[in-house]
């Protein structure tokens, strides 16, 4: 009987952890997007007032960020300084490949940013940054819609699914 109870508890915990992992991934995605928006704000200020060259801009932005974004901007600055890739888009892709912890929404926003960076004069570049920020905000809004209800739903569903499985096996 004890073994059966232990098995049931394990099933419930296993299913529950899936729900909690989904919730954590959701929160990580949101955190990444918020950090990216802050980084884009900083880049815009730097560009507007100091016309900072891109490799230096990336290093400065890295110093303002934490976690995966920090590592991404350091890699990007390094790629730009190595001068091996023909344009910023290629440099961005190489930097993204070296930074696996970024979430899909952030990756897609950064790829769009890579397409615009380094192609235009100041006005165009600022517009490119604004566009990237707009994309991030839209993605963030989508994520935030009924967020609490949805996340609670994931957790409850996974726990219930675990409990149902346990009952079936018992």
């Amino acid at each position: 009987m004890t073994i059966k109870i232990i098995g049931a508890v394990l099933i419930i915990l296993g299913c529950g952890s899936v729900g909690f992992a989904m919730t954590a991934a959701h929160r990580r995605e949101e955190g990444n997007l918020r950090a990216l928006i802050a980084a884009l704000d900083f880049m815009q200020c730097e560009l507007q007032y100091r016309l900072t060259p891109l490799p230096d801009l990336c290093r400065l932005t890295a110093a303002q960020c934490g976690g995966a974004l920090r590592s991404l901007f350091i890699h990007l600055a390094q790629e730009l300084e190595d001068q091996i890739s023909p344009d910023v888009f290629h440099c961005m892709n190489a930097a993204l490949a070296k930074t696996p912890k970024l979430t899909p929404q952030a990756v897609s926003a950064l790829q769009a940013l890579g397409r615009s960076l380094g192609r235009f004069h100041l006005e165009g570049q600022l517009l490119g940054l604004e566009n990237a920020r707009h994309n991030c905000r839209s993605a963030l809004e989508k994520l935030s819609e009924n967020q609490e209800v949805r996340l609670r739903g994931y957790q409850t569903l996974s726990l219930c699914a675990g409990a149902a499985l346990a009952i079936l096996f018992l």
Partner: protein
């Protein structure tokens, strides 16, 4: 002779780096890239053409590398050049984008001329350090190289600060010794730079490279009557050339410069009192 060779190689597409490096840092003077044609490596001995043709992407690579992927930080493209890391100058030809305020960008690049910056110590030995000098020479005779050494020599040997208004960022790139008493104002237009230097830096001498406009000349004349020496370079092959041009006649006649330094094709120089 010093040259920012690594910086130069990093400007080039990967496939060009090895053959250019083989040419050697002491002999190469220019690299010319023309779309759809093989790159030309120009040295004193003549030209060498690489086998592979340069593509549009190769030209873009050079532009991106020279501007550090930052077109907003290199507004000089509209004037037909870019100063790359290491002080190398990239001259640009292509399809210009013209707007109200003039040429704002180049849409398609057709050819590039990469001129290699060199620092040759002691070539200014023998030039007077206590007067205003105007260095003249046709393109490629070494005006900037001579001015660079003259500034350094004056800064190390004569009293007082030398302020360099380096509009193109070519005179003292990172790694080039500028002397003990030299202050460098980089990427600043000459007229404003000269005024700023006079007001704030207390110079004994102001140096500028390539005076080309009336505003440059006016600013120099203003500075000249403030008790300082002036060092400048100008495009002209002889004193006669200079006197024929209205722009420079006034500068010569007003007595701002006391001596002309005339550069020859073989990069030697001679002086002439005004």
């Amino acid at each position: 002779m010093r040259c920012a060779w690594e910086e130069l190689l990093n400007l080039l597409p990967m496939w060009m780096r090895q053959p250019v490096d083989r040419q050697g840092r002491d002999t190469l003077q220019e690299i010319r890239l023309r779309r759809g044609r093989p790159p030309e490596l120009v040295s004193r001995a003549g030209s060498i053409w690489l086998e592979r043709q340069a593509e549009e992407t190769d030209l873009r690579f050079v532009i991106n590398a020279a501007s550090r992927y930052s077109p907003w930080a290199s507004s000089s493209v509209g004037q037909g050049y870019l100063t790359a890391p290491g002080g190398h100058r990239v001259g640009v030809c292509g399809e210009a984008v013209v707007q109200e305020k003039g040429i704002t960008a180049i849409r398609e690049y057709h050819s590039l001329c990469l001129r290699i910056a060199r620092d040759v110590p002691d070539i200014a030995r023998g030039l007077a350090l206590d007067r205003s000098l105007l260095i003249l020479g046709s393109p490629g005779t070494g005006k900037t190289t001579l001015l660079r050494d003259l500034v350094r020599t004056r800064s190390n040997r004569a009293p007082g600060a030398v302020v360099v208004v380096d509009e193109r960022g070519e005179l003292f790139p990172v790694g080039f010794d500028c002397g003990k008493r030299t202050d460098v104002l980089t990427l600043c237009p000459k007229p404003q730079g000269i005024e700023m230097a006079l007001r704030t830096m207390g110079p004994a001498c102001i140096a500028v490279d390539e005076i080309t406009s009336e505003r440059d000349c006016d600013a120099l004349v203003q500075a000249g009557w403030c008790g300082i020496h002036v060092l400048a370079t100008v495009h002209a092959s002889s004193r006669r050339d200079l006197e024929r041009r209205q722009l420079y006649r006034h500068v010569l006649e007003c007595g701002l410069f006391e001596e002309l330094v005339i550069l020859q094709k073989d990069k030697s120089w001679r002086t002439e009192r005004i």
